[in-house]
């Protein structure tokens, strides 16, 4: 599995995805290959996909530390930790100063699994921002 296979799959899907989404993907060059996947209508929250030796990582950036209301930061973190298990397939993390939602798949996953992961991750990210809006500026 590599990001180019995923990109080809998503671009070939066009209107025929099982998830009802239209994906657009753009490879980003760098020391590690990253695929930027956007879903039509949700361009503001792209998903970044990278493939390592044993897993496929799909990451969406949620909000920056500077957007967090500092007086309720503890409550927000607790709410996020509590939400981690009920939330299907995705988990929270923090990369540098950015809070992220991510899903990790085995490199042996099918392209169909990857597509499903991307749609669930996108749904989850919107839902999380909606639910956590009170903690954000």
């Amino acid at each position: 599995m590599n990001i180019h296979l995923i990109a080809n799959h998503l671009n070939e899907l066009a209107d025929n995805s099982d998830t009802g989404f239209i994906f657009d993907s753009l490879p980003i060059a760098g020391e590690v290959d990253v695929l930027q996947v956007t879903i039509t209508g949700r361009e503001e929250i792209p998903i970044f996909v990278s493939v390592t030796d044993d897993q496929i990582l799909c990451i969406a950036y949620l909000w920056g530390e500077e957007e967090v209301k500092q007086d309720t930061r503890g409550e927000m973190l607790e709410a996020m930790v509590e939400m981690n298990i009920p939330m299907p397939l995705s988990s929270f993390s923090k990369i540098d100063e950015k809070y992220v939602i991510f899903g990790a798949l085995s490199v042996n996953s099918s392209l169909h699994d990857v597509e499903h992961e991307l749609s669930v991750l996108s749904d989850n990210s919107l839902e999380v921002i909606n639910e956590m809006a009170d903690y954000l500026l």
């Binding site: 760098g30 930027q36 949700r42 503001e44 990278s50 990582l57 909000w63 957007e67 809006a133 954000l136």
Partner: protein
């Protein structure tokens, strides 16, 4: 220090700055080398184990053969005694004593092979466990580094394209608006389709002569004729 605590220390300490690795590249290389060494040990231990188990089976076959031979010669000795041939019986008994010495020797080898096999099996299990642990730790280091490199690529991409990241709430609002717009357009399309199908039904009814009828010249003439009559 475990890899896990190294990673935590590195992340908390801001080693995520560009160019700085979680665990220095040299350490990662040494670690990868240790894994390869462990894999080699494992392959060798497994090969040794196969060899020793084969020898153990051979020893077992030899033991069975000697035991069978002893039983056989005991039978000969008894027969010789029954025939009163003491000299022949003694000769057979000497043969049996020789076989028994051979049996003891074979038994010792068999026991040694068995002990060796058990020891090697333990070694293989231990090495496999250690290897799995090494691989898990190396995977943690590699994943952390890969995520950092991916993040760097993403950040570069954003700053290069000059596209400013919206904040989370703004993004959600924009997406919701688009969704609303999309829903409205879907609704409008549905309404249009419904109106269309309504109209086509009317047309069909009219064609079948049901419902409101257009007054035609012929029908007016018919009406006038009937009044005259």
């Amino acid at each position: 220090m475990s890899i896990f605590s190294k990673i935590i220390t590195a992340i908390r300490g801001g080693a995520s700055e560009a160019g700085e690795a979680i665990v220095d590249a040299n350490a990662t290389r040494i670690f990868a080398q240790e894994i390869r060494d462990a894999e080699n040990h494992l392959t060798k231990a497994k090969r040794d184990l196969t060899g020793i188990m084969a020898k153990q089976m051979q020893a077992k076959r030899e033991l069975d053969r000697i035991n069978r031979s002893i039983t056989e010669h005991e039978g000969y000795a008894t027969t010789a005694l029954n025939q009163g041939n003491e000299a022949l019986a003694l000769e057979v008994a000497e043969k049996i004593a020789g076989l028994e010495a051979e049996l003891a020797e074979q038994q010792t080898s068999f026991d040694n092979y068995e002990k060796g096999a058990i020891r090697l099996k333990d070694l293989v299990k231990g090495t496999e466990r250690q290897l799995a642990d090494y691989q898990r730790q190396l995977s943690m280091v590699k994943t952390t580094e890969s995520v950092q490199k991916a993040t760097a690529a993403i950040t570069d991409n954003f700053s290069n394209s000059n596209s400013k990241l919206l904040n989370a709430k703004q993004s959600l609002e924009r997406i919701k608006e688009k969704q609303q717009d999309f829903d409205d357009r879907m609704q409008a399309a549905d309404d249009l389709a419904a109106e269309g199908s309504d109209q086509s039904l009317k047309d069909k009814l009219a064609a079948a002569g049901i419902g409101e009828q257009q007054t035609s010249a012929n029908s007016v003439l018919d009406r006038l004729k009937s009044k005259q009559g």
